[in-house]
């Protein structure tokens, strides 16, 4: 490239991404297969929750993912704003939909797990409610990135929101817990998971690792398409400038 800009050389990133992607796909597949095998076939039913404990093997890992991706969003936004690194903006923009996806999965599987336990589809359990609020933080971030005509503006605004949001997550968590204990109706038993013994821990960890490598794979794909989209925009702009 004649006048490649040295500030953010995405080609180096694209080369790395292309190298890493096949491996992370393979690892994800292996982890998923082994995880699912253990989760669905080779682990005992829980004495208290019965077979429905198998939902936990997807519910808990996706909850962990929804929170860790939001932290990823926070770190990417910090890097983007402090060091003005355009790739970090794209990483945040690529990660947000994945995080929202995992949060949605957490909510749906949480409700499906709650139904046999308490007989209702939705329980205002402290953790589930916090995840519900987190879901709207994700939607806010995604909406803000696309709300401005100039994608650069949207990225910066969303980065600031991610930082403000991240600072608020513990506050929201604390206030929802406080609110939950305050209104602790007799009927709602605490939704803590079953005591996790060895045979259940391994599928849980395998599934969590599988989800993490899945996140890495999809993130690398999405960042590459964000880079292409920005190149297309730059091409069109220079075409417009004649």
């Amino acid at each position: 490239m004649a006048d490649l800009h040295k500030f953010a050389n995405p080609n180096r990133f694209v080369r790395i991404a292309r190298a890493v992607l096949p491996w992370s796909n393979i690892v994800t597949a292996l982890l998923l297969i082994s995880g699912l095998y253990l989760a669905l076939f080779n682990s005992p039913a829980d004495y208290q929750h019965g077979q429905s404990v198998r939902i936990m093997y997807v519910h808990v890992p996706s909850a962990w993912m929804s929170m860790s991706i939001y932290s990823f969003l926070f770190v990417a936004s910090l890097v983007a704003l402090i060091w003005r690194h355009p790739l970090a903006h794209l990483a945040a923009r690529a990660a947000a939909p994945i995080g929202a996806g995992f949060t949605l999965v957490t909510l749906v599987t949480g409700s499906l797990w709650g139904k046999p336990g308490w007989g209702t589809w939705w329980v205002w359990d402290a953790r589930l409610t916090s995840v519900l609020v987190l879901f709207f933080l994700y939607l806010g971030h995604i909406a803000l990135t696309h709300a401005h005509d100039n994608p650069e503006r949207g990225a910066k605004a969303a980065a600031i929101l991610a930082i403000v949001g991240f600072v608020n997550v513990p506050i929201i968590k604390y206030s929802v817990d406080w609110w939950n204990t305050l209104h602790q109706g007799a009927s709602v038993i605490r939704a803590d998971g079953p005591s996790i013994d060895g045979s259940m821990l391994t599928p849980l960890l395998l599934m969590s690792l599988a989800f993490t490598t899945y996140f890495v794979s999809v993130l690398l794909i999405r960042i590459q398409s964000e880079i292409n989209a920005r190149k297309i925009q730059a091409l069109q702009l220079s075409q417009a400038a004649g």
Binding site: D149, A157, I160, V164, V167, I171, I172, W178
Partner: protein
């Protein structure tokens, strides 16, 4: 010809901005009156939905008052920077010797005086409509006094972030409402504690509301100033 800006403290410029904003909002036919009317009207709708039984109304009273107050602040905070952004004043405000963070504080103060304060004045009326016991009026006013500035501060972040965006209003509420959850929880808790019994239990939520206010006094100006700066790029 050096620039003789005597940096006579940060308050004169802040007061100048505060004074201008107050004069503007009074001149433009008191948009604070509209905010109060929305507040009372929205709160009046609930009895049509849930029925007039006073036991029910008392039970949901503080929650309804807080949610409608929160929505009233949200609706009015959208225009906080919009007018200045559209007529080019925001650029010039960023060029004053005073850091943007202080100007944001002045604007939020002006916003609170024109919306938060009128809401406080209108709250007793709703208290009567919802048959809240007299013991609840004091804590309700105190909770709103601590809560509404926080709502204005956090709302300012949202309004700066949505400057120049296409769907301002709806986007603003999507960004800001999740951040309002803690203020709503502890705000209503103050009144519930006052209604249900010993005033003692009301102390904790009041302290937390005050903590939330101090935290947003620290975080919001930085975030809003950063959002305004990137909106001016």
């Amino acid at each position: 010809m050096t620039n003789q800006t005597t940096r006579n403290g940060t308050f004169a410029p802040m007061l100048a901005l505060l004074g201008r904003d107050l004069r503007l909002s009074l001149a433009s036919g008191g948009d604070s009156a509209m905010v109060v009317v929305f507040f009372v009207l929205a709160a009046i709708l609930f009895p049509f939905g849930v029925g007039p039984e006073s036991a029910v109304l008392t039970r949901i009273g503080s929650g309804v008052i807080w949610v409608t107050a929160l929505l009233a602040v949200l609706l009015s905070v959208e225009r906080l920077f919009l007018a200045d952004y559209e007529d080019g004043s925001l650029e010039l405000l960023a060029l004053t010797p005073l850091p943007m963070e202080f100007l944001v504080l002045a604007k939020v103060a002006a916003h609170w005086l024109t919306t938060g304060l009128p809401l406080l004045v209108a709250t007793p009326i709703l208290g009567l409509l919802y048959h809240l016991p007299p013991a609840a009026f004091g804590p309700m006013i105190l909770a709103l006094m601590l809560g509404t500035p926080t709502l204005s501060l956090v709302g300012a972040i949202g309004s700066a972030l949505t400057l120049g965006s296409r769907r301002g209003g709806v986007l603003l509420s999507l960004l800001v409402l999740p951040l309002y959850v803690p203020v709503l929880i502890f705000g209503t808790a103050v009144v519930d504690a006052a209604i249900s019994g010993s005033g003692e239990t009301a102390k904790t939520p009041i302290m937390i509301l005050a903590a939330l206010l101090l935290a947003s006094l620290a975080l919001a100006p930085w975030a809003t100033a950063a959002a305004v700066r990137q909106a001016l790029e």
